[in-house]
Amino acid sequence: MGTEAEDSGPAEGAVIRTRALTKRFRGGHLAVDGLDLTVPEGSVFGFLGPNGSGKTTTIRMLMGLIEPTSGTAHVLGQPMPRAVRTVLPQVGALIEGPALYGHLSGRDNLLRYDAADPTADPRTRRSRVGAALERVGLSAAAGKKARAYSLGMKQRLGLAAALLQPRRLLVLDEPTNGLDPQGMREIRALVRELASDGTTVFLSSHLLDEIEQVCTHAAVMARGRLLVQGAVAELAARARGRLVVTTPDTAEAARVLKEQGVGDVVVEERDDRVTGEPPEREPAELNAALVAAGVRVRGFGVRGASLEDAFVALTGEGFDVAG
């Protein structure tokens, strides 16, 4: 990917673009190592990786909170952290969970955050705060002190803070953390709604199905390095599915499949299943071979690859990917 936009300068249509972005903390720990990330405009971009893989450090560099050791980061076409003043009013962010003033009510928390934005109009402040509270379903609890909020309510309030103004880009770090399944569905619906309005959403998560459900693009990080990035459909396609044969005659089936040139044949005795790499040729021919050998085939098919297969392949088994 990224062949249409060349290395130097901000990319056309890229809302976030980093080049060789690197952060080495004072202790010598290399948190982010030569990151080349491109987030297309209008995408819902999933940012995946295990804990400690450098996701949050990357987000903090993009938001001008941490100075990169080397490399460049452009957000909305402007260099960060130099253009913080012009870029960030157009960016809503939820970074590493919400942070609130416990002694203020939910509404007063939002009023305070809005007052910190130099571009926010004080005359419309109250109505915008009200609308943001409404949007995340917190209107009823707006007058309560924030320290009395549950984790889910705090998360919603953090989201409301990110939605105080119309944004070009939303950066959401683990937005469904602490929410119940109903709350997660609501957030996903909100993300889709925002995306359909043209807002680019940069969503970090460790929940693969969440990424798969809402994201159009994704990137995977591990140990400070970018393993892969691209459209979700494309990533899933890279991980090939598996051939699955359900039969009581597992040993015989495995023998036949190997004979037919199927690689990585695994017998799952307990489930009466034999799996393997899908062949290049027509699968139906394999089925015919099995039946001809007297194997009682009860099920035959190719299980489709999920993003999870791609993820496991990337982080677990060292899949060779030219990111």
Binding site: E12, G13, F25, R60, M63, G64, L65, I66, E67, L76, G77, Q78, A83, V84, R85, T86, V87, L88, P89, Q90, V91, A93, I95, E96, G97, A99, L100, Y101, G102, H103, L104, L111, R112, Y113, D114, A115, A116, D117, P118, T119, D121, P122, A161, Q165, P166, R168, G198
Partner: protein, 295 residues
């Protein structure tokens, strides 16, 4: 939407915004329990001093042993029974060495570090409040708190003084008489000078606050530094460095009660505060604008 406007829309900074940021800071500070408790303690000091003086002057039988609260402004203390206005000077003299700067140290120390430990700092910065502006708003808030704290002591003392003692014309330290009205004006001037005396410790506290991500640590360090400096200021062998310690000329505000006013030490005090503000203000700025925000 064209590519050209990718970062150009809606980014018009409003002129009144800094004021709004400061107003927000000040309200948030005032709505903390901690701040209110500090102000309550400060308001209680004149009450205690007033009652102590009243008891001592009324009951010749019981409480004649003490002879003043730890030597806090003895020049004023003796006069309190004649004129309640002197309780303002006595109370300020009693709170300036420790209570007032401690309260300021708590507010200043918490300013940045408290936001950092709560995590709210990152959201203020991505709002984006701007590091220099935020630091400035924090300092202005602390300065406003210096003034507020001093006025709380002064007003409380005036109320207690009016309640317990007679009011009227008063005698200056130099022995001349001035009217009650002029006395009030001087009391206000003294309150302003006392508030200005706290600017140095406010800047010091703000600098300490940029060094750590623990609000408690910053508050404790600032109050600890204050205590240390106060002790060093009392050790005769260290007299060479004492003129450079921020509390050294604090009690010079009494010179405003001379006729004519003796300006020498007052000027040294204000000059010293300005020096501390310049040095620690710059240090705080240098530190805060270059700091990685990882909380």
């Amino acid at each position: 939407m064209s590519r050209a406007d990718i970062a150009g829309v809606g980014v018009r900074v409003r002129r009144s915004w800094s004021l709004g940021l400061f107003a927000g800071e000040f309200t948030v500070t005032l709505r903390r329990w901690r701040t209110l408790a500090l102000l309550a303690v400060l308001a209680a000091v004149p009450v205690l001093v007033g009652i102590a003086v009243k008891v001592e002057s009324d009951g010749g039988s019981g409480g004649g042993s003490g002879g003043g609260d730890g030597g806090a402004g003895p020049a004023f203390m003796a006069q309190v029974t004649n004129n309640g206005l002197f309780l303002v000077f006595t109370a300020l003299a009693a709170t300036l060495p420790f209570f007032l700067p401690m309260a300021v140290g708590v507010v200043a120390g918490d300013a940045i570090a408290g936001e950092a430990s709560a995590g709210t700092l990152r959201y203020l910065l991505v709002a984006p409040a701007g590091r220099t502006r935020l630091l400035l708003a924090k300092y202005v808030t602390t300065v406003a708190f210096c003034l507020l704290a001093t006025l709380v002591v002064a007003v409380s003392a005036l109320a207690v003084g009016a309640l317990l003692f007679p009011l009227g014309d008063l005698t200056t330290i130099s022995g001349t008489r001035i009217t009650f009205g002029e006395g009030l004006a001087r009391a206000l001037l003294i309150a302003l000078v006392v508030a200005a005396s706290l600017l140095g410790v406010a800047a010091l506290g703000l600098f300490v606050s940029t060094l750590t991500t623990s609000g408690i640590a910053a508050m404790a360090t600032t109050v600890g530094l204050l205590t240390t400096v106060q002790i060093v200021d009392q050790i005769p062998q260290l007299h060479a460095i004492q003129p450079y310690l921020f509390p050294h000329y604090w009690l010079s505000f009494a010179d405003l009660m001379r006729e004519p006013v003796y300006w020498d030490d007052l000027q040294k005090n204000l000059g010293l505060q300005a020096l501390y503000v310049a040095v620690f203000g710059s240090a705080a700025w240098a530190r805060f604008t270059a700091k990685d925000i990882t909380t």
